[in-house]
Each structure stands twice: as C-alpha cells, then as structure tokens.
C-alpha cells in the first residue's frame, strides 16, 4: 500500500478516513488531529502549564511526545501504584523515566507506598474492585500534585477507543449521570480541582500505538496491567472493533455525534456542592473524600491484623 499523499510505502491504512500514510505524513496528521481536538474542545491554551499523567504505556507517552512537539509546556507525572505482580510498576516507571530523560523533560514521580504506607493491591481488600480503587487513587494524586505544582490543566492519554467504549458501556446501562459527565474536558467545579483533558480523544488506539512505534517511543507493550484481565472496557473495545471492521468510521462518528448532542443529558448532572475533605482538604462529596476513606479503612484493617 502506498501513501495517499506522496506515494511512499505506507505504514498505516486509515480505513475510516480512506487514507494510507507513510511515516512522515502519518506523524504530521497525528499532530494535526491532536491540535484539532485541543482547539475544537478548548482543552488548553499555548500558555497553559500542563501536567500529563504518564503510565509508561503507549497512549500517555504518545500524548506527552505530541504535546511537546506541538510546543506546549508539559511535565509528566508517574504514580507508582506499587503493583509488584509481573514487576508491572517497576517496568512502567523505568519506561516513563527513560522517555523523560531522553527528551530532557521533567517527570514527577509519586510513590503511593512511600507517601501513604499502602500500595494499590493492599488498598483493594474490601468490597471495591482493584480498578475502582486504582481510579480513586489516581484521580486524587493527579489532582493533588497538579495543584501543588501550580499547573493549569491535567492531561490524560484517553484515546477514541477508550472514550467510545465508555460511551457504549454508559449507554447500555442508560447511566444518564455518567453520560452527562463524559467528554474530552472535565471542568473544575471547585477551586482546588483542575480541569482534566483528553487531547487524544479523536485518535484510535491503533493510531497511538503506530505513532509511538514510528516515533521510537519505548513503551510497555509486552505487558498489561495484571489486574486488567477480563476488564469490561476490553470487551466493549472488541465489540466496537468488530463493528469498525465492517463499517470503518463508526467509532469516530459514534463519539463525535455524542459530543454534538450531549447537552441533551445536561439536566441529569447533579449540582456539585463545594465541600472539602476534613482529612486532606481536597474537594469531596461528603465529609471525607473517597481516597481518605480508603486509607482509613486500610489502616483499620492493619490495626485489626496487628492485634
């Protein structure tokens, strides 16, 4: 297959766009689409100080690389969740650190065990599943580090497949509250919260993987989070890819048309009250935030275990 633009050997066939592209034209287009998402959904400005949440995987490292290439001021944040199975956290951290070092970028590392005495696998005991616990931890730490570092916006590597699969999942359950909240930019509803943005939301997972490989980004591709096996999101993604295989462009249309019409769900969003957690001072929906509740429960379990 030849590049539609220059006739050189193509590295990717974008069936949704009827485009085959060589390395050079693919990278050019990838950066254009990131910039288009940033402008279309008002994700950040040129003067924004951006903190990119990096996991060592393709999406977050591709995002950090693209933002830097586009001239945005972006630092990285790696959260060491303490997942020892398959050396997952250690290997992921090494990839993130190597990426930052090679490019002279600033990477902040937050070690959960060192800061709070618990790793994610230890926090999960109880009724909550590990992915849910991990989400609470990451949201809390990302916001805290971004706030303390005086950043303007938090960027995550969520791509079109992530967004479309969450949308499908929310629709299948008719979860109107989550539908009202979904989008490429989550506004800060409290002065101690930062806006969260998803600049890769118009690019597929295959495109971010291709970008990472073409750009020579050494990411964790031989390893998945050991707790993600059987995740619902993977089943949703596979279902969407089967549809995409038959009707190229469906994922993009599904998501972008949702964004055009999502105001229909606006009334389903509960008004958030400005309450601050009694323990950490960050915004909470009750007296104590979800993160501090998790820590408290783990400490109580530890004390019981000691006796």
């Amino acid at each position: 297959m030849r590049c539609t633009k220059c006739g050189r050997r193509a590295v990717i066939n974008l069936r949704a766009h009827r485009l085959a592209l060589c390395e050079r034209h693919f990278v050019e287009r990838f950066l254009e689409v990131v910039e288009r998402a940033i402008r279309r959904y008002s994700l950040m400005s040129r003067s924004s100080r951006v903190l990119v949440a990096v996991s060592g995987g393709k999406d977050s490292l591709a995002l950090w690389d693209a933002l830097t290439e586009l001239g945005y001021r972006a630092d990285g944040l790696y959260i060491d969740l303490g997942i020892r199975r398959q050396n997952y956290s250690r290997i992921s951290k090494e990839k993130a650190e190597a990426f930052a070092e090679q490019r002279g970028l600033r990477l902040r590392v937050f070690n959960l065990k060192e800061e709070h005495g618990f790793a994610v696998p230890e926090l999960r005991r109880g009724s909550r599943e590990v992915c849910s616990v991990c989400g609470i931890v990451k949201r809390h730490v990302m916001n805290r580090v971004a706030l303390e570092g005086s950043y303007h916006v938090l960027a995550t590597g969520h791509n079109l497949d992530d967004e479309a699969s969450v949308l499908l999942s929310n629709l299948l359950r008719w979860n109107l509250e989550l539908l009202a909240r979904q989008g490429p930019r989550a506004e800060a509803w409290h002065p101690k919260l930062l806006p969260k943005v998803k600049p890769l939301c118009l690019l597929t997972e295959k495109e971010t993987a291709t970008y990472a490989l073409v750009r020579g980004i050494d990411y964790v591709y031989e390893l998945e989070c050991p707790f993600s096996a059987g995740a619902t999101s993977i089943a949703m993604k596979e279902a969407l890819n089967r549809i995409e295989e038959h009707s190229p462009g469906t994922k993009l249309y599904f998501y972008t048309q949702f964004l055009r019409h999502r105001s229909a769900f606006a009334g389903e969003r509960p008004s958030a009250e400005a309450v601050e957690c009694k323990s950490c001072g960050l915004p909470a929906s009750g007296e104590v935030c979800s993160f501090c509740r998790l820590l408290l429960k783990s400490r109580l379990r530890g004390e019981k275990g000691d006796n």
């Binding site: 993987a209 998945e224 993604k237 596979e238 890819n241």
Partner: protein
Amino acid sequence: MLAMLGVSRESVVARVGNRLVTEDYRLRDGDVLELIHAISGG
C-alpha cells in the same frame, strides 16, 4: 491472515523486522511477522 486468526485489523499493528506494514503486505521467505496488540484495558 488476520481474519483467519480471528484478529481485527483495528486492534493490532503489524511489524516485519523493524518496518510497520499494512494489511496487504505479502509475507516473503524469512519474514517474521510481529503483531503488536494495540488494545489496553483497565
């Protein structure tokens, strides 16, 4: 070939040696095809 393996072309990136290839690539003697899974979950 991907269809025979039950793999969607939307979920993998194919590499032969150090070259990324599109789905029409014809394997030659000595080629080693690496399928890089692009889908992550969690």
